[in-house]
Symmetry: D2
Subunit: 302 residues, 4 copies
């Protein structure tokens, strides 16, 4: 995800660039892209996050999980805060999807060190990252910082930029939306499967639900039953789209956040287990999350 | 439900009326209404379903559950088919919400006896019945019979009349829509509760979800979190609306139909248990089904 | 099930026999068995349940589901009660596993007709039926009737004969035990799978659980993890034993009875869906219900 | 928990003692206890974990959660490893119940620093800690270290000392047992409640299950239905015992470990949500976990 996002920023902004990745070929590929584009600005590769922070006043990170964020920002030797070294008002933006508690914890320490940190997880996948059409869900301590980050950074990488309140709320918005989505998709799969087995035409059933109180994005825009909608994963054997294991990851974050906030999410927890089980099966691990419909039917008596 | 539906038919059609109810005051109230309206047509009360069928060629039934439908239609001594007694093309319309298997079984026997039977369960509640704005989900063997029933009967009692395919499909459409709805509402309650406890403003959260992939009727039209939307049960302490025990009943039908058709409805089954538990509690049994939000929060640590 | 049960009664009692089955080869096979055994008593085949009842004062039935019981006992033309025709004190014993409501309803009507009806569902499978080691869970209006039926009938077919209270309680005991069992087995499968994936030796883990508070029949007597116990289905690729679809059927009865009695059975309902899903898959439909362990692991990443 | 465990060690061993707790009154109380006992050995209070480790070659820790263990052992300034400072063969025993990943991670770092670390979570509660009857589930790299720790330490604090394999396996054994227990208890509550509502005597029902395949510790030793067994929490309004929030915590650890090991624990996840919901309600947060039975019944229609 980081590469296409950075590529869009590279193309659309004036500032010089310092990049870092643990995987050297990725940064090499990035400097080659910069050369091909014949940009006048300087693009360099840093040896550590600390070196990035020593040179930059605006930093965007994209990492797999909470422990990576903790380490990249807080490592006493090589972390970003070590590189900032007391400079004030450095703007830190973490676009990783991670647990709320870590997001808020790291932002608090960054704040104590004089920096300003925002969480800005995205949705839209690698396709959206390449096209510059990502949705950013942004937690920011002030509306001014949000607006600044939006105008100078997010608009070059995304299309829908939403202020969700204070730091950590970007994560909250993302896991809440995705928990709602993950449950609704299984519900849509169970419902369409039940109706079809009871003898209804799937398009007719979807039409009735979509004009009634069962309507949801999972039934009217991304219906999991093959043939109901064109141009959705269900109609191309569940290829493309949002993988079952990504949904399992987001639901895991939701279930953990629920435990910490003493919230009950029974359906969220069952949905998590279902995506978890499906995503460990060879046939489904690379399929879109709407393939739950197929899983409910596969090998089963008709 | 039967009374306001019949009242609308009484007012808006020309035909004479024969009514039957096991509860005598209801039929008395109906004949008094007819008098007050000073209608020229004849309105009489029959002693049994058989007596209704002996006199009428179009019959509408509204009953609580499958066994009642079975008995009212099939009882050898007092049932409707006994009253039809071989007359052909009598039109039978059952608007009860019952199990699909019974609906199809009774229709088949009625067909063998020369009658034509449709299932036409409704949604919209007693308010919709009184206002004549019910939705009818109609299973009919032919489109002609559907059109005939729609034009002569359903339009006088409802607003949205949907042909769902063959007999029994009205029931299928209703339980499918309501299963999708029942799951989505709990999902919406869990999601809003989680977000609020993690520090988000509920209106902001609902706004983000409603413009994203978590969108559903349960979030954008009937949000269960108080204060998000005006004029929904959540904003008047969950009074009015669709009761928790009605949702428990519909989900019970869905779970039974799933068992019979070898369909897996894991979330449907969990949702059923949740509404079941809530609907047996004094405080919630008369509340709208969106009160799940309150149940998740009540007495709980904040 | 009926054939081996009847065979044991045939061998071990003195009385003449009248048998009935909708499947003629079964009754033919039975009369041939009687011939081979060179029994002096008379064994005849009746044309209908009514004809059985016209000749016998003690009748045992074994049927697949509630509607069959209803029809065999209550059919006005060919049913057992029609054959009893007012004779008093005929003893009717239904060993079917069916829903509690039907069991009690039919027994009540039989009582009004002057007969005495007991419900006596069994556990132990066809192997137990052949070996005469079934467990009978008996609902009987009086202890005297229970003792009579036990001494003259049940002891010839079973080993463990339990009085569960009044009529219908045999069914209650069976679905309660099997719901507890069905949930415990999935719990055992999830637990053993989790422990093994986290690096524990399965025998060691089972040993710890079995001497601690997690102990259950599903862990200490019928452990679902291959290799933990000899001589259980798990150690012979889940062949033999109690099939996934039988467990799905019993859990369906439990969930329905819960709905009717306003009881909440959330884990029971989830377990039902899991067995339901597994039992519709070609590979698992003929396997023992402990194959849930395999299903959790199959095709999955190690 | 730490206080009564340390008190038993104090009484029963010869070695001098260094204690540390963030809560000063606890260590004060401990030194006073030592004075009252008129022990000849030296008992001192350290200012930090580091100071404990500077003086001791055998160290036992008891902490609430993973982050505390990480901090107490690994903090560069005040942690235990800093105090060991390269001395070899110091024996570290962590009796906290924490996540498997942290347990193994900290042990690995301790090993790299020359120390030997065991995980040894306990069950038995504060009563067991006081009576010296705890169960220790011990993960140890070698059987020799296990035996050493058992003979010199665990026998003074506990009764049942189990070697579960390598480091981290103590945690695995504990969460596996408690997940099995937590699910079984809800299953027992649902089953007993269903049976009672369907008309069975609870003692009779428990007796049948306990001699059949539904048998478990939750039905035969700790039955959640009041009146079935004497001397269990269910028979004293669910006071004493193992609290709902402790079970919620252990199930949270199990669900997290399942996610990390790609194991599916659907029933475990539902059970987690149920204990979570119950434990946030004022009436239940201080009750034994078998109070699920009461929760299923409370305020409900009979």
């Amino acid at each position: 995800m980081g590469f296409p996002m950075a590529s869009n920023l590279l193309r659309k902004t004036e500032s010089p660039f310092v990049v870092y990745d643990t995987h050297a070929p990725t940064t090499l590929k990035f400097t080659q892209l910069a050369k091909e584009l014949k940009l006048s600005k300087n693009v360099s590769v840093a040896a550590t996050p600390r070196d990035v922070a020593a040179e930059c006043d605006v930093i965007v990170t994209m990492l797999p999980a909470g422990p990576h964020v903790r380490s990249v920002y807080l490592d006493e030797k090589n972390g970003l805060l070590a590189g900032i070294n007391g400079r004030v008002n450095v703007l830190l933006i973490d676009s990783s999807t991670i647990d709320v508690a870590t997001s808020r914890h790291v932002a608090e320490i960054a704040g104590q060190a004089g920096a300003v940190m925002l969480d800005a997880p995205v949705s839209g996948g690698t396709l959206g990252a390449e096209a510059g059409t990502l949705t950013f869900m942004v937690g920011s301590p002030t509306i001014e910082t949000f607006t600044l980050a939006k105008d100078t950074l997010f608009v070059h990488m995304g299309k829908n930029i939403v202020h969700c309140g204070t730091v950590g709320n970007g994560q909250v918005a993302k896991i809440c939306n995705n928990m709602m989505l993950g449950i609704s998709m299984i519900a849509a799969a169970e419902t369409m499967n039940l109706g079809v087995r009871l003898g209804m035409d799937p398009k007719l059933l979807a039409g009735i639900i979509n004009t009634s109180s069962g309507r949801s994005w999972s039934t009217d825009t991304y219906n999991p039953c093959p043939g109901v909608l064109p141009n959705v994963p269900a109609s191309r054997d569940y290829t493309g789209g949002f993988g079952t294991s990504l949904m399992a990851k987001d639901l895991s974050l939701a279930v953990s956040a629920a435990h910490e906030s003493k919230s009950t999410v029974t359906l969220g927890a069952v949905a998590h287990q279902i995506y978890n089980q499906v995503s460990t099966q060879k046939e489904y691990k690379i399929k879109d999350f709407s393939s739950i419909y197929k899983w409910l039917n596969d090998n089963s008596e008709k």
